[in-house]
Amino acid sequence: MVELSVNDRTVKVDVAPDTPLLWLLRDHLGLTGTKFGCGSGLCGACSVLINGAVARACSVPCSTLDGAKVTTIEGLIAAPDSVVTGVTEAWIAEQVPQCGYCTPGMVVSAVALLRKMPHPAEPAIAEAMTNLCRCGTYDRVRKAISRAAVSS
């Protein structure tokens, strides 16, 4: 039994301890905004915030999450601060997504970056945004982050 906070709600779950957070969110809590891409922490489609830091939910076993505070894309959207609003508006203004599958993870990563570093230069953006986008929207991602940085 693990007790954690997901999007500011306390959740008690009885799952196998090795169950990755990703599948707890998707299959047990019905939070499908966090995506499955690789299962090995390589693509970032499952990016969430754990205690405020960006993490790859596919590679974090639930057993390590007792007392943790998890925020998913749904949590960011439900209670947006100025950074979240800035990022989502910038993503729309720059028309970033194509297939959109990497987008929630990208948005979570961008929010984490801008909360830590409100005006990141290009190298910092490149270092933080390691999420893979198969459609090739990276140039717009860079522009959207710069736009969000200016607006917040």
Partner: protein, 721 residues
């Protein structure tokens, strides 16, 4: 006036029934009444009090059809774009893509196929609104104006919204050939309107295949025979049932398929974990010993065979032309198998009952399921229902129905809805790969540098031989030789030969298909010819394209945006270079310029890429620009690192660690331009892929003097000579 209720089923039924005898979809009135609360005007349109819903028959793969196609309807219907909603059409023959003859999304055809039908559907609906209003108001139709979703009779100061008129309009006769707006009156087509699907995607609300949730749904993980063509031999479940008893909590069933074993469970992780405990023995079959080396030698043997299987093109006397040539440039180009590696792994949710089968699937080919499933499940075509989710990348992979068929079989086996999700490793190792190829290309030049004769021979596995065997005549796979002899260069004498190679690796359509490998060979060869003559590669191409103003304009625009004639700024301990390439495909012309820095230690940096496309009439220029940007990066990813290899009959690569995708840090800055044109619409999504690999290797040549004739670039020495 209260609107008639119509359910989705009702919509479909109405559309289907009413389509009888009408050749082109989109011009039907008289709707069947059922549940819901909007009026069906025709197969493509539903109107309620304040919104207009356009049904889209192409899957939204990221290419923007959920916006571009509704724009065609909105242009002619005359409604405020703010009130447009979009809905994926359910499977129905009425929604067949007219260019493909099936409800299928591929070949960069969506806008080309629906450009007229959807405008006609909008124009017909608008005319029916006018006729309806003229009847109730008893005024001549000429006195009415329909704009922004409102019909106005100025003389009597009467107005009625489309919503209010919808029911009446739907009872009017369908105009056979409604007049379409003149191009100079367009207010929607040609505008970069924001995509309708983006807000939901940004919020994480967009429902992809893996996000489907049904009452009583179960989840399945699967393992396929690691060798292509092999099958299941023996399954030992004892580790999963330690005391020989029941499955542990959460595990519903272990299902054996011909070439795979799946576990169905309450959650995907349980299924996946249980799958790992099974001991599976495979009958590996004839491909158990194939390796990348073995098919390299097959391709090599085929390329050198004295008797080519198929002559694709034989124009002019190429042998004579080459005999008299001042100079002959000849090279061999080698390209690897490639995976699609969509970010959303293959998946499908199926609910099969004794008398029905319903799928929720991210697919490019709804029609395929309706062809395969009835026989497989012993059901009638009417008992199959296909719902299409958002699609998390496709690139040709989801033209295949293997994963969807598996989901249906699993649901039938357990009698419950099943969501089958492949792991990344299964996805990577059980793809239908872009064929590897070996190309020998030769061009003969006269003393002024003009090409007098070209010979190409390509050895590659055939995609069409598998997916459409009837189309392969005389051993020729027309897709494998696409985009060679029809380029706008001077081709007075040309011979194109194809040899079908057999490698045991399943091959399939991959964004731009034969165009990418052929453009790599062709645009590399042209570059080699230019340098052999000490000519500038851009000016050399310019001289060859003088008879095609469109191609020339695209090339010139790319050169202009790149500042082709300006030297690149120097970088310490590094060489810089620019490369250019041009290719026409899918009715569009594209030129791309790549700027690279190659450091002394051989590291490569992509500085900037300029891309220019002429795709004729543009519905939404920003969507075209985004597709060109995406195609450039998709092609760069393949050129840099894309390679599927095989050992002991097994695909070696399994995840993004050994099949890396381009990252943001590696991605170049992009400058793209969409040419203004009033030509017929061309295909977009794939057209930007073919020129990028040769533009990149041409740039590396300029920087370092190293001519790369094999892809990918990773693993090759590119230090300056």
């Amino acid at each position: 006036m209260s609107p008639i209720n119509l359910s989705r089923r009702g919509v479909l039924k109405g559309a289907g029934v009413l389509m009888l005898g009408v050749h082109l979809p989109g011009v039907v009135a008289h709707s069947a009444a059922a549940g819901g609360n909007s009026i069906v005007i025709n197969a493509w349109l539903k109107i309620s009090t304040d919104t207009t819903t356009v049904l889209v028959a192409s899957s939204e793969l990221g290419q923007g059809v959920f916006t571009a196609l509704p724009m065609l309807v909105a242009e002619e219907l005359g409604v405020d774009w703010k009130n447009i909603r979009v809905e994926m059409a359910p499977y129905d023959p009425v929604y067949a893509n007219p260019l493909l003859g099936a409800m299928r999304t591929g070949g960069s055809t969506s806008v080309r196929a629906f450009f007229l039908p959807l405008r006609r559907a909008g124009a017909a609906a608008r005319l029916m609104m006018l006729v309806g209003a003229s009847r109730i108001w008893r005024v001549p139709i000429e006195q009415l104006v329909a704009e922004d979703g409102i019909v106005t009779h100025a003389a009597s100061d009467r107005r009625a919204s489309y919503g209010a008129l919808a029911q009446l309009a739907s009872r009017q006769k369908v105009p056979a050939d409604p007049p379409l707006r003149e191009r100079n009156r367009w207010t929607v087509i040609g505008k970069s309107l924001p995509r309708l699907d983006i807000p939901a995607k940004v919020k994480g609300d967009a429902v992809f295949g893996i996000d489907i949730r049904l009452p009583g749904q179960t989840y399945a993980a699967i393992r396929h025979c690691p060798v292509f063509g092999g099958s299941l031999s023996k399954l030992d479940e004892s580790a999963l049932k330690p005391r020989g008893g029941a499955y542990p909590t959460g595990i519903i069933a272990v299902v054996s398929l011909k070439d795979a074993v799946a576990v169905v469970a309450d959650s995907w992780w349980q299924a996946r974990s249980a799958l790992g405990k099974l001991v599976i023995t495979w009958k590996e079959g004839v491909n158990a010993n194939i390796t990348s080396n073995s098919f390299d030698s097959v391709l090599g043997r085929d390329l050198d065979s004295k008797d080519p299987k198929a002559i694709a093109v034989n124009r002019g006397d190429v042998d004579l032309a080459l005999k008299g040539a001042y100079k002959i440039v000849e090279s061999v180009y080698r390209q690897p198998f490639l995976a699609h590696a969509t970010l959303e792994p293959m998946n499908c949710t199926a609910n099969v009952t004794p008398n029905s089968c319903e799928l929720w699937v991210p697919t490019q080919d709804q029609s395929a399921y309706c062809k395969i499933l009835p026989d497989l499940l012993g059901l009638g075509p009417d008992q199959i229902k296909i719902n299409t989710s958002f699609v998390g990348g496709s690139f040709g992979r989801r033209l295949e129905s293997d994963f969807g068929v598996e989901a249906a079989l699993l649901s039938k086996a357990v009698g419950r809805p099943v969501q089958l999700i492949w792991s990344r490793e299964e996805d990577m190792r059980h793809d239908f790969y872009r064929p590897a190829s070996l190309t020998r290309a030769m061009v003969g030049l006269d003393s002024s540098g003009y090409p007098v004769g070209w010979i190409y021979r390509i050895a590659a596995p055939s995609v069409l031989a598998r997916v459409s065997p009837d189309s392969v005549r005389g051993g020729l796979d027309a897709g494998a030789v696409a985009g060679i002899s029809d380029q706008p260069y001077g081709f007075s004498a040309v011979r194109v030969e194809y040899v079908r190679s057999q490698t045991g690796i399943p091959v399939g359509f991959w964004r731009s298909n034969g165009h990418a490998p052929n453009a790599f060979a062709m645009e590399s060869l042209i570059d080699e010819a230019a340098f052999a003559l000490s000519r500038d590669p851009c000016r050399f191409r310019r001289a060859l394209l003088t008879k095609s103003p469109r191609a020339l304009a695209v090339l010139n625009k790319a050169a202009e945006l790149a500042g082709w004639d300006e030297p690149l700024a120097e970088v310490l301990e590094a060489r810089r270079g620019r490369g250019i390439a041009f290719h026409e495909a899918f009715g569009s012309a594209v030129a791309e310029v790549v700027e690279v820095t190659v450091f002394a230690d051989g590291r490569l940096k992509l500085d900037r890429v300029v891309g220019v496309i002429d795709c004729g009439t543009t519905v939404n220029p920003d969507i075209v620009a985004a597709q060109l940007e995406g195609a450039i990066l998709f092609g760069l990813s393949a050129a840099l690192t894309g390679r599927i290899t095989v050992d002991n009959g097994r695909v070696v690569q399994g995840n993004f660690n050994d099949y890396p995708l381009l990252t943001l840090a590696e991605a170049p800055r992009l400058v793209v331009h969409v040419m203004a044109s009033d030509g017929p619409p061309g295909g977009v999504s794939e057209a930007g892929v073919p020129p990028i690999a040769p533009a990149l290797t041409n740039a590396i040549f300029t920087a370092t003097g190293r001519r790369l004739r094999a892809l990918p670039i990773a693993g090759q020495d590119i230090r300056s000579l």
